[in-house]
Symmetry: C2
């Protein structure tokens, strides 16, 4: 590059209605630019204690059950932290795969040299608990069963409560990807017996990306303590616990205070609204958008019985240039919607998450979609 001066960034506000990040409230946005606070400041530890406790409430992890805190990195770091801490080379890991993020779980488990047993379903279908439990019966010593509670790449919900119930007397740990679930649909980790869950900050919690809330059951914490140290230092849950929750704390990393402040404000908003009210709001907005798409003869990818409200995957009609439609939505209407991730059928992904989960936002997206589709770019023209 030349040495010419770089211009400051000028960001045009977007309506973010893809798979996330979603828009955030003015108060959460403002919290990101509060004055910085040091990671060892005594006032910081009061904030961390509150933030960890709020995270546990949103996950419905019972007080005294294990460890819940946010990692200072994005959602995939929470996925990796769990595998790194629970899996040894050769451990059997059963993974439900019906989309991109199940596939990512397989990728990470393979990197940690697990013996991976994949239980697959087609894009748009839920992996059945029957098939997962069959795999568990065939691999009774499996260390871990991992499923994607809300598959961001397809909009499919997993019947996690039912799987937890079926596994409740089992020694195999149950892991759930709650990246798109948390704050948008019911999550009840202690009641369901989920041993390890991870999520992100930028979807139904309505914060910016950058933090990954994780929650570990007491029995999984006890197991981790009995194991050799994992390779990873940055993502080691025990080191994170020693900083976030133990008093006096043991320094681990320099906390990104803007993200901590933002997440604190976002979780306050979640709890002030109430979990059930928030799920109901997501359910209403999602059903509204999905009905509107059906009225327009658009085909939804997900099995209706497992359709998430907060993420709607719409198949691109034959001949239409899906990427071109996305581009026009962005450039002509300032609205971000998602496309398909690698391996997916041609689709658009519409998210109504967190601050955006309401019918008024759905109406804005639908109006723009109708305007673009009235003269939609076609593949031949692309």
């Amino acid at each position: 590059m030349t040495n010419s001066p770089i211009e400051a960034i000028n960001v045009e506000p977007r309506l973010l209605c893809g798979p996330g990040p979603a828009n955030i409230s003015p108060d959460v946005l403002a919290a990101l630019s509060k004055p910085l606070l040091g990671h060892l400041d005594p006032d910081m530890f009061e904030i961390l204690t509150e933030l960890a406790a709020m995270t546990a409430r949103v996950y419905q992890r019972d007080e005294g059950d294990g460890v819940t805190l946010p990692i200072s990195a994005t959602g995939t770091s929470g996925m990796e932290a769990g595998i790194a801490a629970l899996v040894e080379p050769g451990s059997t890991v059963i993974i439900g795969v019906n989309g991109y993020f199940g596939r990512r779980l397989v990728e990470i488990a393979n990197r940690y040299h697990a013996n991976v047993v994949e239980v697959e379903a087609d894009w748009g279908q839920a992996v059945t608990n029957e098939a997962l439990l069959e795999a568990l019966a065939a691999n009774p010593d499996a260390r871990l069963m991992a499923v994607v509670h809300a598959e961001t790449s397809s909009g499919v919900r997993h019947d996690l409560a039912e799987l937890g119930e079926a596994m409740k007397d089992n020694d195999t740990f149950l892991m759930a990807d709650c990246v798109t679930a948390l704050g948008g649909i019911e999550v009840a980790l202690s009641a369901w017996g989920v041993d390890y869950a991870y999520s992100c900050s930028q979807k139904c919690l309505a914060m910016s990306p950058g933090m990954s809330p994780i929650s570990i059951s007491q029995r999984a914490v006890d197991f981790m303590r009995s194991q050799p140290k994992p390779n990873t230092f940055y993502l080691d849950p025990q080191l994170l616990e020693a900083y976030w929750l133990t008093r006096p704390p043991a320094y681990h990393h320099t906390l990104p205070s803007p993200l901590v402040f933002g997440l604190h404000e976002a979780l306050r908003e979640v709890l002030n609204e109430g979990l059930e009210a928030r799920w109901a709001r997501h359910a209403e907005a999602g059903a509204y958008l999905q009905a509107a798409m059906a009225e327009r003869n658009m085909e939804l990818l997900a099995d209706p019985a497992h359709q998430l409200p907060q993420l709607t995957a719409v198949l691109v009609p034959e001949g239409i240039d899906g990427a071109g439609v996305q581009k026009q939505m962005l450039r002509e209407h300032g609205i971000e919607i998602g496309g398909g991730l690698p391996g997916a059928p041609a689709m658009w992904r519409f998210g109504l998450m967190g601050y955006n989960a309401n019918t008024a936002t759905a109406d804005k997206v639908l109006a723009a979609f109708d305007a673009v589709m009235a003269d939609a770019p076609t593949l031949a023209a692309a």
Copy 2:
């Protein structure tokens, strides 16, 4: 916890003159709360290209030499990413240890099952290049030589240019911890032959914590490409490169856009100021503070020949309650200074970094320090 409402965070502004985070400019603070932008937005990729190129300029990594980009996590993630990608179980790694962060390098290398050769020096002393090169002569197949360019725990600078020169015809990779160095003292990776460097955003670059700029030489990039995939997915430099630098990009993680915008603005400020002017400003401020401490008969920890300007470790005089002094600085004057990290002698750490690297800030710190020390808490009273 009870279900009582949590109050919003109210942060009293601090003058942050410990080992970091340091204060940031109003423009950088404002950049943190620009509207969110999606990680796959076409406008984002222009920003990423600029940001990676600015990062390379600040590191003085030549155009075309390897890969330079920031990781979406704090400084220690950059330390771990390098070890995870360059070291295999059994690889010999020579590490210079003269403080807490050299010790952390040993900890992480051990977690990755390296054969670690430690070359130690006392707190406050530099590890000599002579001793490091002797260790290299005794371990000619060493995969990696790692040193801490600016030891945040003691304020000691390593003679990195000299070590690079001595190793320039060597196959052993040279890694440098530039966490406290970058933006504050000269760093010239390509000229010095540093194969892997990592830093943070919250010290002399004057951004919030949350990003870890890394820079990898071409020969180290080529080596990584020849190796099996590392365990880590989140911190795999090749996956980060495929998202940050390759076009079209391959999705890897959901970028924390507030931190990206903040770092973009912070690096703009660094480059607009000019690297040499910035180093000179740090040198002046640090020398001023250090002279003032000497006038007060305070003993500095670091060997004067290797004293960093941006980080000054002052030994706590006998009988004084060091932690009590820190607390009074914070509570009575709103100034954060650091204490010693685990294993260190009793000390205070004064940082004049980035936005704070000026004599006016030093005067504020000194005035508060004098006021507290006029009636300093003693250990007997503590």
